[in-house]
Amino acid sequence: MSTLTNTVEHPAGVTLPIYMDNHATSPMDPRVLEAMLPFFIEKFGNAASRNHSFGWEAEQAVEIAREQIAKLIGASAKEIIFTSGATESNNLAIKGIAEMYKERGNHIITQVTEHKAVLDTCKRLEKYGYRVTYLPVKADGLIDIEDLKRAMDDKTILVSIMFANNEIGVIQPVAEIGKLCHEKGVIFHTDAVQAVGKIPVDVNAMNIDVLSLTAHKIYGPKGVGALYVRRRNPRVQISAQIDGGGHERGMRSGTLNVPSIVGLGKACEIAREEMASEAVRLQAMRDHLRKKLESALDYVEVNGSWEHRLPGNLNMSFVYVEGESLLMGINDVAVSSGSACTSATLEPSYVLKALGLGDDVAHSSIRFGLGRFNTMAEVDYVGDKVIGIVSKLRELSPLYEMVKEGIDLSKIEWAAH
C-alpha cells in the first residue's frame, strides 16, 4: 500500500494551505480593510459625541454604513442596529422580543438545525417559562410549512427560522414563512448570517421582521454585526438586553465600534454590487467539485437539498471513511467535518442527524465552503487530493471491504462501546 502523504502535484497558481471553510469565517476583502483604516488613528471619534467634529465624522461614517447595510437587504437605514456579531444579534432578537411581548404570549417556534446561538437562547427562555417548539426538518434539511402552520397557536409571539444553514447550506422557504407569520400576526426573525451577501435578501418582499447578520462571513471584520428591526407594518419593539447610554434607539447600548462598522458597511456594498456574478462563479466551482468527486468515487452522498442551497456550499459524506482521518490526509486544505472526533462534544453533527442520516454517515461528512477568493485551480487541487485520500482510506476500511463483498452492515451485531 502506498503512502497516504501528499502525492498530488502542486499545480501552478495554487498556494498552500488552501482555505475552503468560508462558512466558518471569511478572509477580509482588502477593499474593506482600506475603508476601515482611517477610522483607527485619524478619525477615531466617538459617534455619540455630538459637540465636536471628531464625533460628527464618526457619526457620519456610521450612518453611511447603516445605509449600505440597509440597501443590501431592502431595509431603511433607521431599521439597522449595530451589535458585536450574529450571536449577540440572535440573543437580542429572541430575548428582546420574548420580554417585550410576554403579555401577548409565551410561545416561540424555531427548528432543530438552527445555530446554537438560537437554540441555546431558546433553551434559556424555556427555563423562564416560555414554551418553545422545535420543528423537525425533512430529509432535505428544509422545514415543512404545514408543520409550522400546525405549531402556531394564539400564544405564539415569535417564529425564528434561519435563512440558510451553516453546515449544509440549505435555504429555508423564508418568503413562505414570512407570509404565514404576517397573516397570523406573529413576528418573524431570521438568522441570515450565511445568506446575506450571498443570495438576494429582501425584508419587505419576504415579510421578514427581524434579521441577524454579521460582517465576518461576508469578507468583513470579526466582532461586528447588525440586527434589522422592522419599523412599520408592523413596528417591532425589542427590549434592550444591555443597559447603558441608550445608543441604537435604546436597543443596544455601548459605544459604537466605528472602524468595524465602516468595514461591515463596505462589505455589504461590495456584496450588493458583486453578488450576482460571484454566485455564478461559486456555483460553477461547487458543481465542478461535486462532479469531480462523484465521477471518481462510489458511495458519496450530498447532504441536504441540492436545489435550495447556497452557491458556495458542498456538504458530502464519503461513506465508510471517517471524517477526521480524511481531514488529516488533506491537512493543507482547510475544510470542516461533521465527524464527532472533530467536535468538542464528541457527538456527530446534530444538523446531519436531524436529516435522518445515520451517525456513520455523519461521521463521514465534509463541508466545503467556497468563497470569493477561491479559484478553479484550487478546486481541482482539493478534488484530486480528496479523491486520493478517500481511495487510500477505503483500502484501510473494513466497512468498505465488507460492503464490496456484499455484506449488509446493518445486519451485523456491532459491539457498541
Binding site: M1, E322, S339, D359, P398
Partner: protein, 140 residues
C-alpha cells in the same frame, strides 16, 4: 488536533494492512467497535499451531488517525509474540507509545479489545480454553 509524529507515521505508512482467510483454523479474527461510534477495527492473527507464535497480523480500520495508528501499532506488537504474550499488551502501552491525548484513549482501548477478540476467536476455533483471567478482561 495536533498528532504526535508516531501517529502521523502510522497514518501515512500503516503497517500490515489487509486481510487473511477468516475460515482458516490458524487465523483468529477480531472485529470491534461500531460504525455509529465512528470506529471499527478488524485485527487478524495467524498463529503457528506448534509454537503458538503469532507469525502474521493484518488489520483494517475505519476511524480517526489515532484509531488507525493504534491498530497498526497493535499488529506490529503482536507479531512474533506467543498468544499468551500478546494478551499482556495493555491499552496504556499504546497510549504511551503513540502519545495519545485523553480524548483518544478509547482508540487504544479498542485496539486492545481487537487483540483479545482475535485471540479469543483463534482459541475458540482451536479448542483452547480461555484462562479465567483472560476471559474476565475480555469481558470489560
Amino acid at each position: 488536533m495536533a498528532y504526535s509524529d508516531k501517529v502521523i507515521d502510522h497514518y501515512n505508512n500503516p503497517r500490515n494492512v489487509g486481510q487473511m482467510d477468516k475460515s482458516s483454523d490458524e487465523v483468529g479474527t477480531g472485529l470491534v467497535g461500531a460504525p455509529e461510534c465512528g470506529d471499527v477495527m478488524r485485527l487478524q492473527i495467524r498463529v503457528n499451531p506448534e509454537t503458538q507464535v503469532i507469525e502474521e497480523a493484518k488489520f483494517k480500520t475505519f476511524g480517526c488517525g489515532s484509531a488507525i495508528a493504534s491498530s497498526s501499532l497493535a499488529t506490529e506488537w503482536v507479531k512474533g509474540k506467543t498468544v499468551a504474550e500478546a494478551l499482556e499488551i495493555k491499552n496504556t502501552d499504546i497510549v504511551k507509545e503513540l502519545a495519545l491525548p485523553p480524548v483518544k484513549i478509547h482508540c487504544s482501548v479498542l485496539a486492545e479489545d481487537a487483540i483479545r477478540a482475535a485471540i479469543g476467536d483463534w482459541k475458540k476455533k482451536n479448542g483452547v480454553a480461555e484462562t479465567a483471567e483472560a476471559t474476565a478482561v475480555a469481558a470489560h
